[in-house]
Subunit: 377 residues, 2 copies
């Protein structure tokens, strides 16, 4: 006999028009996500155990209702693909259903790995005092050679950037084959660290093709890298969990292909997909497009993602929010005030727009330390 | 030196309001999906080789334009995650961009496996004459025991159903553990075939957890199954390709989690994601929610998916469209007339709503054979 605290509780915002029956829509979700049959076709004993239970249903405003459905542990077992399927699989194909919130049972939290290293350990690697955010530079562009990319790595590292990550579009293209790129870039960062006494960390993008993950992760390990960038929606959400459990690597998660879920009326709220799921599956830091940059996420959404990555969640460590876009020397104080120190600022174009990457990096670090109230360099 | 026919051509429908510059939005996509930098920050030689080229840009109507962008082979290499990333990765996070059409270069088509068996071979397995569609029953519900599920398999097989597939929510839950379910259901279908002289085929759902795929596929093989159901968006698109290349199994692809991409103003058109990508990656049959059923796909969209699965595509075999929902004895002639014989009709609730699964299955097969102009049983 399971108790109610063993259940997974999922809240959906339902689009609604006058005349529609919100309870019928809620009931439809509870059936669709479990037995995929009308209730009349389900044996009562199975219905009692397996069909989702509507725990609450309330009107939000003139166009929407909120329903919370409880699912028994039996329905999702311990496996990630079925957990994701239960949350949004078939109903992704319907309309007007926004997955807004999940309350995770303790057994589920205990069964998902969460970040291996998390905030304090990444700080320690980078020698970054607790009183400031970390800085991450994106290594670009696709089309550059490994030597050119390694040269950029060296400049970023000499300039004091904490983390240097590949663009997630750098896979294994002929212009910069994976193995050569990883080796040259890691060497360049190591040499720069040796010269400056710094501790920049290079994290290559893992192409994530099925069947060669171990081989590619061995390339990463052999080169001496301490982490990788990966895109869970490109390589599979459960692949993130699997890499986290098998490899002693920090994992930066990229939001490629997630945006289609972020429609206001239908999908999965960014704070659930990026903030909760990516963290639970093992991301040490989660990249998202910052408000005011090239993508349309709102300030409220960015704040909600940050909260979801940091808030207490059973035994699961916190992950770093990693907003990308809109951060430059002038705006560093603004973003630190808004997002706090346990943030990684991902900097792309604003560094590349300057002629001297090392100098630009140094100016950004100085501005960050200054805004955080730290002195010296 | 590559020629223009080596390029991948991608057409997007751009949402547009008077006063907006459609060329700027198109240019933004071409940069975002490749170098992720403003053009001014990209060395000209790299820009020439790597940034997408706008080949055409034309107004569609009062609210939209269409752009076709050509990407050089260098940008996507031969790997699926980066190919998907190039098509829609970062721009998934933008607004008003609908991926409508892809023209695939010959090298890409040659590098992707497509269906291993396809239409004629699945027909042969099932002993199904070319003059009629195949029938597939969904094994339900989650919560039933392996014995109960096997009993349903037996009834479907005795009734003449061609393919019997697990619901995609049947993973490895305690009510019906994967290995026991696969073995009992496969045995039940085999026994029924021996009794009737039929040739029903059982295809279990592959839970698709990372790291144990080979073990689970060995369970499937050892039981004697000839195919599996899998959900590419749950287990990873490239995992579909990998299973196709390594295992002698027919693959049914389920659309779980794809629906968020199917918004009319932003996403990936169903005929591209389900019709082209799933087929190219190796699905022998692709399930989609039929018009008029529990999901809101239109008749035009269903037709477009069918066309995409069947149309000539280099060396890639055709796949079966597998519409689910809305098919019963009365409507079989309608759907055959509309969709043609090279279709698998997926039947769920309309069978379970009847007291005798074997009799209901037989009636459906008879109606199908009758509507297809075949005689005898």
């Amino acid at each position: 006999m399971t108790t109610s605290t063993d259940n997974l509780r999922v809240s959906y915002r339902l689009a609604w028009r006058p005349g529609e029956d919100p309870r019928a829509k809620a009931e439809d979700i509870a059936l669709e996500q479990t037995v995929e049959l009308p209730r009349a076709c389900v044996p009562p004993e199975i219905a009692r155990r397996v069909v989702g239970t509507i725990e609450s249903l309330a009107q939000i405003d003139e166009t929407s209702w909120r329903v919370t459905i409880a699912y028994a542990p039996e329905t999702f077992g311990g496996e990630v693909p079925q957990l994701v399927n239960l949350l949004f699989g078939n109903i992704s194909l319907k309309e007007g259903i926004l997955l807004e919130r999940v309350v995770w049972p303790a057994a589920t939290l205990a069964g998902l790995p969460g970040p291996r290293f998390g905030v304090p350990e990444l700080r320690r690697w980078c020698g970054a005092e607790a009183g400031r955010p970390l800085l991450c530079a994106a290594l670009k562009p696709l089309g550059a050679t490994p030597r050119e990319l390694a040269d950029r790595c060296r400049r970023f590292a000499r300039g004091g950037i904490d983390l240097i990550k590949d663009d997630h579009g750098l896979a294994d293209q002929p212009s910069a084959p994976f193995a050569e790129r990883v080796q040259r870039c890691q060497e360049a960062v190591g040499q720069a660290n040796a010269e400056t006494g710094g501790s920049a960390v290079y994290m290559p993008n893992l192409p994530g093709t099925a069947g060669d993950l171990d081989e590619r992760l061995e390339t990463v390990r052999a080169a001496g890298c301490r982490g990788v960038l990966l895109s869970p929606m490109l390589i599979g959400l459960d692949t993130l969990r699997w890499i986290r459990e098998r490899h002693e690597l920090a994992l930066l998660a990229h939001p490629s292909m997630t945006g289609a879920y972020f429609r206001p009326d239908h999908g999965i709220a960014p704070e659930v997909l990026l903030g909760q799921l990516f963290r639970l599956l093992g991301a040490d830091a989660v990249i998202y497009p910052n408000v005011g940059g090239r993508f349309p996420l709102s300030a409220a959404t960015c704040g909600a993602i940050n909260s979801a990555l940091r808030e207490p969640l059973g035994p699961v460590a916190a992950a770093f929010p990693m907003p990308g876009g809109g951060v430059d020397v002038e705006r560093v104080p603004h973003w630190i005030a808004r997002y706090g120190n346990d943030t990684v600022f991902l900097i792309g174009a604003s560094l590349y727009a300057q002629p001297d990457l090392e100098r630009a990096s140094r100016a950004l670090l100085d501005a960050t330390r200054g805004a955080a109230g730290l002195t010296g360099s």
